[in-house]
Symmetry: C2
Subunit: 280 residues, 2 copies
């Protein structure tokens, strides 16, 4: 079908099939070339591509990626491959990569490791990064407290709508995390702020930029507790057609937010990443 279209036809890397696996394991396919191919891919697709590589090449690529990008890719690997990757990286680089991961993904990974190994990694991490991970590890992984991220958008009531929108458009946020901003009494860092309510992104779009978020807080949105089960969290999202929800402790502190993608991860069978991905 492509034959008559002209001399050059650019196809998405993910659509290249058949030649890919062979090419990738050929000596001619250098690490630099692979890194270039990976540049424009989504982390999940890089993770899939890396799993097709011979172990040696896979690890060369891992070493060549910077901490941030490697962290994004490791998050998308199946549990077993994550553990293998940490063993290969060693504790020093491993701790750097864990620092760059989302705290909930880092906690999930550490939960798969022997306790002593997890503890060494946590000790090597910057305390600022390890503290939220340690908090998450206190919760069972299939509760709201274990599923949540500790880094949603948290604002004080005196923040303007313009600033709130600027925070929500941050490309590092998933669509689910960007859909709600949370309002607390300062300090705004989880888990210390007293929860006041949330503001929906669509609501922010309907307000004048100079308004304060304090004036448009949704106080009625039901909250999750850290001990709520995976089933309870799933029903919560399905009932209210939400993709993100606040997790608030008994003292009314905002301790984090659960997003629906984390719930899906846990609803799927453990080996789901090993199977072919749909929609390609």
């Amino acid at each position: 079908r492509l034959a008559r279209r002209g001399a050059i036809h650019v196809v998405d890397w993910q659509h290249v099939q058949g030649i890919t696996q062979n090419e990738l394991s050929m000596p001619g396919q250098g690490v630099a070339q692979l890194l270039m191919q990976f540049e424009d891919l989504r982390a999940a697709d890089v993770a899939n591509a890396m799993r097709e590589l011979p172990v040696k090449r896979r690890m060369e690529v891992a070493l060549a990626l910077d901490d941030e990008r490697l962290a994004d890719v490791v998050q998308e690997l199946p549990d077993d491959d994550q553990v293998e990757m940490m063993h290969y990286l060693g504790v020093d680089r491993g701790a750097d990569v864990l620092e760059a991961m989302d705290p909930d993904d880092a906690a999930d990974l550490l939960g798969e490791l022997p306790e002593t190994e997890a503890e060494s990694l946590l000790r090597l991490m910057d305390p600022e990064d390890s503290a939220p991970v340690r908090r998450l590890l206190e919760h069972s992984p299939d509760t709201a407290g274990g599923l949540m991220t500790t880094e949603p958008v948290v604002l004080s009531a005196s923040t303007t709508v313009a600033e709130a929108l600027a925070r929500a458009r941050n490309p590092d946020l998933t669509p689910a995390l960007a859909s709600l901003v949370f309002v607390v009494r300062p300090p705004t860092a989880t888990p210390t702020g007293a929860y006041l309510g949330c503001v929906h992104l669509q609501q922010l779009l309907r307000e004048p930029p100079a308004s304060l978020v304090g004036g448009i807080i949704d106080k009625a949105l039901p909250k999750l507790g850290p001990e709520d089960s995976l089933t309870a969290v799933t029903r919560y999202f399905a009932t209210y057609n939400l993709v993100c929800g606040p997790v608030v402790d008994d003292e009314e502190h905002l301790v984090g937010a659960v997003t629906v993608d984390d719930v899906l991860d846990h609803l799927l069978p453990e080996d789901w990443r090993d199977q072919e991905v749909a929609g390609q």
Copy 2:
């Protein structure tokens, strides 16, 4: 705990327990009073409250609600209660309420009814409303084609960012549906437009209002096909941390969009709405 707080303490209706069920079935609790209480509640909470009412009172309330609101509430009822409600409303009002429902929810409901009954209702509906429902009914309910909504935000490439944002902030859209706008060659009504790609809400927030969406289309986002299974759709969302995705047919027409809340509805056991909702 409330005793010393002062003379008047307003609690959310959903937090009122114990007295509620009795009160609601008392003759003194008129329909008008109930409607007033329901006014500020989310549709899911009204649905739960209505299920607690004696049948007679429940139906009086249903008759008193306008089509739009009743449609929102019916969408949140368990399947069996939806069917019972349709029987009580009769075909004429039933068709009006179905017209006001989201096409995918209307299709789910009609799928629960005997075929002849579903057909009479479809015939009574405005063809503009029944056409998308008929299209959805052609697909198995646990495929992307059956799960999708036919009413995502669809724009042409010459739409400005400002206009796209104005469309996305529509309060009738769920957070998931608002997270992505789709770009097609006109006509923009599903299922006729040729799919060009999508634009993420966060991306729209990062662009000057006068820019055209045609310049910022994400063409690389993997697409779903109408026949993709529930499992494939679930993995798609989990892999790419998405909450909404385009469904495109073999001729590259955008036929609809699947949102993660619809996926959750189908991942939960059939009777999930009969159980206590979390987070209250």
